[in-house]
Structure formats: structure tokens, C-alpha cells
């Protein structure tokens, strides 16, 4: 049974005349690694500030560990939550150790100096984030990555059950961005709860256990990354046309974004693509981004083209692995081909398993054949495919062109 550590009830925040957040409700349990995502101006940082009690609530309630945030004193809050802000300017030449030691402030009486124990804690966390060797170096002379790790050590030295990070990776190189997330993941595995405002959706999806998606002052999604980062949510939050898919190479959630006209003229044009073996990837992407209604077939499961189709959530006829196209698939393929306004036959290789695709192509009302490699080199059936292909390209409804010509043709439309 996990313990509920943050409770947010119907919370609204108004700054000046402007409504920043409306009716936010969520509860976060100990040990979660929560990413707060959303477009600029959605109120991500404000939410984090409100949960720390830095901005007043216009309505609703925030509880930390079951106690309303308004009943906690400054120091009590600082013993509950460590907060790392976006841009910290460490002036005057303070050293890393001096900065990290300020994390011990909530535990000291006003007249006390840092004790040996506090120093040991500071050193321990600097070791954890790999900046122990820089203890006596002035922070303003450090690189962005070093500085963020020093600040992370400071936040950890506060030894709070909750850690809030407001875009800690904003000004960092790619390597350091991922490093910060990895440290956070490690910390959350030790039972601490982390809330991070993140810009990079892919990193947030990769490392966080849960995401909160904010847009236009509201929380529009809350849940595990694969439930939150969806085509529909991204469209709603960012107005972004995107395909969300599992990247087969990295094993992570990946996002492919593209520009598309909202009133797209092609949405009623049905196009069927006959492809396989990666020959269709470029064609699928090109047509998908232009908003055509696509169908694909027949492709072997696990084929590169099948993965692209899956990424874009396209209806795709899949055959049986390592066997010829079966009768039901062949029938369905022909139905789709006849129904399509036009059909594209990619530059694919023909063998025993997929020769039926070439047969089916004859059914097309209008057929575009992409040919970058001569059919002879793609024929693994000792001329059978070449003969059929030769017959096909003779048909009046067929146009043969190279891929580049195909692009030009689409540009013109």
C-alpha cells in the first residue's frame, strides 16, 4: 500500500487578473517520479510553485503528507519539500560546498552553525552527483552540467521526502539532460517522490513513472507515460500533429512530429500502398504527413514497413511470417485496392511469399509504380515477377516513376 503524499483538490490559481490554473485535482503517492509536461505558458511551473506554497491558491486545497500546506511553517515546508528552480544565479563566488550546505538551513536553529554531521551529509550527496572533487570550486566558474549537479546535491542535502525540480535540464547539453533524469530516477527508486517540470517529452516519457499533461490552464491527462503521450493528447495540448510509437531501436516511446494543414484537402482521398521490406517507409511518411487516408498490405509482421504503419496507427494487412499470403488476406487486399482512389506500388522485392501483391495490383483504378531499381534485380522468382511486372506497367491506368518524381508530383497537387 503506497502512501499518498501530495493531495491537490480542485485547485485554481489566479495571478493578478490572469487565470493560470483551473480546477486541478490529483494525488501523488510516495516514490512516484512525476513529470509535469505541457506547452509554454500552460502553468507547469506555477503548479509546482503552488504545491510548494510559493503562490497563493485562489480556490481548492493542497495537502502535503495529509496536512494543508497553509498550516505548515516556512521551515516545516522546507523539511518536506526541496525545490530546485529553473535558473539559479550563484554570484559572489560561492563554492560548491557552501551552496550545498545551504540545503541544511531548515535543520539549524538561527544561531547555530553547520555541524560536522551537516558537512558529512553535504559531502555524501556531492559524491552521489559526482561533484565532490569540485567542492571548493566557485560555482560561477562551472559548466552548466556541473552547476546543475551541485544544485541537485544541495536539494538532496535538504533530505526531504519530496523533491520538486523546475526544468532542471533547460540549459543543458543532451548528455547532461539525460543524466539529471537518471539521477532522479535513482532517487525515486530510493523512495523519494519527485516532481519535475520537463520540456522534453521523450525524456519525460522515458524516465518518469507518471506524467501530468497541462494545457490551457487545465490538466488534460494524468497517468503513465504511454497513456498520456498519445496522438490525441499531443494534438489537444500542443496543436501538434504527431505520431507516437514505440521506437524499436531504443525501446522507448518516440514521437514523430510534422506540420499539416488543419483543413487538409486530402483527407477524403483513399490511398492503398503495396510495399514491404522497408521499401514503403518513405512513401508512407510522405503520404501520411499530407493527410491521405492510407491503407497498407499485405506486409509480413515485423517488417520495417509494418513498424512504420504501427507507429502511425495505420490499418495494415499483415500476412503470416515466412509463408505465402493466405487467401483471406489476399481477398481483403484486393478489396482495399479496388476501394482506393489510387494505389502506390513501392520499389519492393518479390519472392514466393508476396508475389500475390503484384497480382493484386492489377485491380487498382489508378496505379503509381515507383521504380528506382530495375525489376530484374528485385525478382527472386526467376523471371516470373518480371513477366507479371512487364504486363502490369503496360496497363493504361499505370504510371511508372522514380521516387523523386513521385515527390514532385505530390508537391504539385
Amino acid at each position: 500500500m503506497t502512501q499518498e503524499i501530495i493531495t491537490v483538490r480542485n485547485t485554481s490559481i489566479v495571478l493578478g487578473e490572469k487565470k493560470i490554473l483551473e480546477n486541478i485535482t490529483c494525488s501523488i503517492s510516495a516514490g512516484e517520479f512525476v513529470g509535469i509536461i505541457g506547452p509554454n505558458g500552460a502553468g507547469k511551473s506555477t503548479l509546482l510553485l503552488a504545491l510548494r506554497g510559493f503562490v497563493p491558491l485562489a480556490a481548492g486545497e493542497v495537502q502535503l503528507g495529509g496536512r494543508p500546506i497553509t498550516t505548515l511553517s516556512d521551515k516545516e515546508l522546507a523539511r518536506h519539500v526541496a525545490y530546485m528552480q529553473q535558473e539559479v544565479n550563484v554570484g559572489f563566488g560561492y563554492t560548491a560546498l557552501e551552496v550545498v550546505l545551504t540545503g541544511r538551513y531548515p535543520y539549524l536553529k538561527w544561531w547555530q552553525h553547520e555541524q560536522a554531521e551537516d558537512k558529512a551529509i553535504a559531502h555524501q550527496y556531492m559524491e552521489f552527483t559526482g561533484v565532490e572533487a569540485l567542492a571548493d570550486k566557485p560555482v560561477h566558474l562551472m559548466s552548466g552540467g556541473e552547476k546543475q549537479r551541485v544544485l541537485l546535491a544541495k536539494v538532496l542535502a535538504q533530505e526531504t521526502p519530496l523533491i520538486f525540480l523546475d526544468e532542471p535540464t533547460a540549459s543543458l547539453d543532451l548528455v547532461y539532460q539525460e543524466e539529471i533524469f537518471r539521477y532522479c530516477q535513482l532517487i525515486s527508486k530510493q523512495g523519494k517522490t519527485i516532481l519535475i517540470v520537463a520540456h522534453d517529452l521523450k525524456l519525460a516519457a522515458k524516465f518518469c513513472s507518471r506524467l501530468l499533461l497541462l494545457a490551457e490552464n487545465k490538466m488534460i491527462a494524468d497517468g503513465p507515460p504511454e497513456k498520456v503521450i498519445t496522438k490525441e493528447n499531443l494534438q489537444a495540448a500542443y496543436g501538434l500533429h504527431a505520431a507516437v510509437f514505440m521506437n524499436k531501436v531504443t525501446g522507448n516511446l518516440d514521437i514523430h512530429t510534422y506540420a499539416a494543414d488543419d483543413d487538409n484537402p486530402n483527407k477524403d482521398t483513399k490511398v492503398h500502398i503495396i510495399c514491404g521490406g522497408g521499401s514503403g517507409e518513405r512513401i508512407i511518411r510522405l503520404l501520411y504527413e499530407r493527410g491521405y487516408r492510407l491503407t497498407l498490405g499485405v506486409i509480413q509482421p515485423g517488417d520495417a514497413d509494418a513498424n512504420v504503419a504501427e507507429a502511425f496507427h495505420l490499418p495494415c494487412l499483415l500476412g503470416q511470417p515466412f509463408s505465402s499470403i493466405d487467401e483471406p488476406s489476399a481477398q481483403e487486399n484486393r478489396r482495399k485496392i479496388s476501394a482506393a482512389d489510387w494505389v502506390v506500388l513501392s520499389d519492393l522485392t518479390f519472392g514466393e511469399q508476396n508475389i500475390d501483391n503484384l497480382q493484386a495490383a492489377f485491380m487498382a483504378k489508378k496505379l503509381i509504380v515507383i521504380e528506382d531499381t530495375p525489376i530484374e534485380k528485385r525478382d527472386f522468382l526467376n523471371g516470373q515477377a518480371s513477366d507479371l511486372y512487364a504486363k502490369l506497367v503496360e496497363m493504361p491506368q499505370v504510371t511508372v516513376m522514380a521516387f523523386l518524381q513521385f515527390i514532385t508530383l505530390l508537391e504539385k497537387n
Binding site: 510548494r52 510559493f54 511553517s73 516556512d74 521551515k75 516545516e76 515546508l77 522546507a78 523539511r79 519539500v81 526541496a82 525545490y83 530546485m84 528552480q85 539559479v88 544565479n89 550563484v90 554570484g91 559572489f92 563566488g93 560561492y94 563554492t95 560546498l97 557552501e98 551552496v99 545551504t102 540545503g103 538551513y105 531548515p106 539549524l108 538561527w110 544561531w111 552553525h113 558537512k119 559531502h123 565532490e132 572533487a133 567542492a135 571548493d136 566557485p138 560561477h140 535538504q158
Partner: protein, 352 residues
């Protein structure tokens, strides 16, 4: 090994403070001994020693003229210098910390403007002849009123944004300046001279009364500020940083501002306005001992005292028997050095 280097920094700060104390004592003895009437330094020590209870009997007697010069004229002057220098040095360091800006100075939030206005009111009313305490008291009230006005003007919804505070400070200072000028144009020439004498800070004619007036408030101010040094360290990292570790930012900032302003105002009361000490001394000490305020504040106190006594002594030595007032000396020495520092910082691109 790393903990050792951290210890080294503390050790270094101790060493610097020891050296500063010794040099300051030497400077005090030299400053008391040197003048139109030169007193041998052992006589100086003997005269001072005779006034210390318990050990007074161990010192040989010195002639009455030396006694009068050392005890009644030069010692109070030097002591006022020490107090004023320490007050200005520490207040400057604190202000720079509160504003997070190495160019801040107590004058920036209206302390000097308010003190001058208070002084000119006292002179205009002709109250200064009643007691030497009248003008300092008016100056103190003026300074605190000006700082209060600045803080009140910049406070909005329980917060004091630093930028607004600086701008309010400028506005209040200008208003005080205008009022001061307005009163000055209505006064007769004798009183204008009296004011001028005060506004160009100096240590001449300082008596034991001035020491008694200033010693309590300034020492209390210095002790309070030094006790708050660790909190100031956190505050310097920025408002948000400070709040996130539980610092009561507004209360701490107000406390530091008022204590530093009151301490400065006390200094201004007994010496007139003296520039550049609060700017240069913390700047140099930050380079030498680092930004940690627990070291920076005490060493700024020692260095401020040393710098002011040094400037005063130098001012007396250049055209004897005439003196260059200490406020002019600090500016003459301070301004070029400060410009040099600024250029150097610009060239290296650092922000120390």
C-alpha cells in the same frame, strides 16, 4: 583532503583577521603619535595604559601636554574613526548581500540623503548650539525615516522586489536632496558653512562625547549583523532559493536593511557622510577571504576601521598643519581603485 582545504579557507580567514587586527593596532598607535606635536609611541602607550584600570599603576608618568593631546584630542578621533570605518565596512557588505549586487551601498536606499536632510533641519532651526548630540540625533531620525519610506514605497503584497527597492531608494534620495537644497537656499551663509562642514565627512574635533554616542549602537549593530551572517549567505543565493530552504525572506531582509541602515546612520551622525568605504572594503575583502559572510563581515569591520584611520592619518600628513578631511581622502583613494577594479572585472568577465 577536501575537508582540509575547506579548513584551510577558515584558517586563512583567521590569519587575515589576525594580521588586520595587528596592523590596525599599529595604525592606531601611529595615528595617535604623529602630528604637529609628535608624541613618542611608548609615551602614547603609557598614556593609554594609565587609563586602563588595574594595570594603570605600572606605567610611567608622561608630561601633561602629551597627556592632553593624546587623551583628549587624538584618541577619541581615532576611536571614532575605528567605529565609523567598521560600521561602514560591515553595512556595505550586508547591503551588497541583501541586494545581490556588489555595487550596492547604504547610501543607495536613502541613508545618506535622509541623514543630510535631518542635519540640515537641525542647523536651520538653530538647535545645534544647544548640544553636540542634537545634529547627530536629527541625522539618525532622518536616515531611518528615509529608509522606512523607501521600504514602504517598494513593498507590495508582502514582498520587496529588489529592483523596486533600488528605484524607490533613488527616488527618496533625490527627494531628500531637493528638500536639503531648498532649506540651504533659505539659510544664512554661516549656517550653510556649518552644513558643508558636516556633509564632507571628517574626524576633526571629535570628542569623547562622540565616542560615547556612537559606541553602543554601532557595536550592537555590528554584533547583530555578524550573528545573521549565515542567514545572509542563503539570502544572497536569491529570494526563491532562500525561501525554498525555509528562510523568512521578507523579515530577514527588513531586519538586515534596518540594522545596517541604523548602523550606517550612527556612523554618519558622528563623522558626516564618508563615501567609498562601504563599497571598496567589502569588495577587496571578498576577493581575499571569499564571499562567506561569517568571515567577510568581521574582516570587513577590521579592514574598514583600518582604511578609515589610514585615510585620516594620511590626510593629516600631506599638508601639515592643514588637514584634508577624511571624506575627501577616502574618495581620492577609493574612486580610482574602484574604477580599476571595475575595469579588471569587465576584462576578466568574472563577477566576483
Amino acid at each position: 583532503m577536501l575537508k582540509k582545504t575547506q579548513g584551510n579557507r577558515a584558517k586563512k580567514a583567521w590569519k587575515i583577521m589576525m594580521v588586520l587586527s595587528i596592523v590596525l593596532l599599529g595604525m592606531i598607535v601611529f595615528s595617535i603619535s604623529w602630528g604637529t606635536i609628535t608624541v613618542p609611541w611608548e609615551d602614547t602607550l603609557a598614556i593609554i595604559g594609565q587609563h586602563v584600570p588595574v594595570i594603570s599603576g605600572y606605567f610611567p608618568s608622561v608630561n601633561a601636554e602629551f597627556q592632553a593631546v593624546v587623551w583628549n584630542i587624538r584618541l577619541p578621533r581615532v576611536l571614532v574613526g575605528v567605529l565609523v570605518g567598521a560600521a561602514l565596512g560591515v553595512s556595505g557588505a550586508v547591503m551588497q548581500g541583501v541586494f545581490g549586487n556588489p555595487l550596492a551601498d547604504p547610501g543607495i536606499i536613502g541613508v545618506s540623503g535622509g541623514a543630510s536632510f535631518g542635519a540640515v533641519v537641525a542647523i536651520a532651526l538653530g538647535l545645534t548650539s544647544f548640544s553636540i548630540f542634537i545634529m547627530p540625533m536629527f541625522a539618525l531620525v532622518g536616515a531611518l525615516a528615509a529608509v522606512s519610506a523607501t521600504v514602504f514605497l517598494s513593498m507590495s503584497r508582502g514582498k520587496i522586489p529588489v529592483m523596486t527597492l533600488l528605484l524607490s531608494g533613488v527616488a527618496v534620495s533625490m527627494l531628500m536632496g531637493a528638500l536639503t537644497s531648498g532649506i540651504l537656499t533659505l539659510m544664512n551663509e554661516y549656517r550653510v558653512r556649518e552644513y558643508l562642514f558636516w556633509v564632507v565627512g571628517g574626524l576633526d574635533y571629535r570628542r569623547w562625547e562622540h565616542v560615547y554616542l556612537a559606541v553602543g549602537p554601532i557595536l550592537i549593530g555590528l554584533i547583530v549583523l555578524c550573528l545573521l551572517a549565515r542567514h545572509l549567505n542563503v539570502l544572497v543565493l536569491g529570494e526563491q532559493e532562500a525561501r525554498s530552504v525555509g528562510v523568512p525572506v521578507v523579515a530577514l531582509r527588513l531586519l538586515l536593511l534596518f540594522v545596517a541602515a541604523a548602523t550606517t546612520a550612527m556612523a554618519v551622525c558622528v563623522s558626516g557622510t564618508i563615501g567609498f568605504v562601504g563599497l571598496i572594503v567589502p569588495h577587496i575583502m571578498r576577493i581575499i577571504v571569499g564571499p562567506e559572510h561569517r568571515w567577510l563581515l568581521p574582516s570587513s569591520a577590521l579592514a574598514g576601521a583600518l582604511f578609515l584611520v589610514f585615510c585620516d592619518t594620511l590626510g593629516r600628513m600631506i599638508f601639515p598643519p592643514n588637514e584634508i578631511r577624511v571624506g575627501i581622502m577616502t574618495a581620492l583613494l577609493g574612486a580610482p581603485y574602484f574604477l580599476y577594479l571595475l575595469r579588471k572585472t569587465q576584462q576578466s568577465g568574472g563577477n566576483s
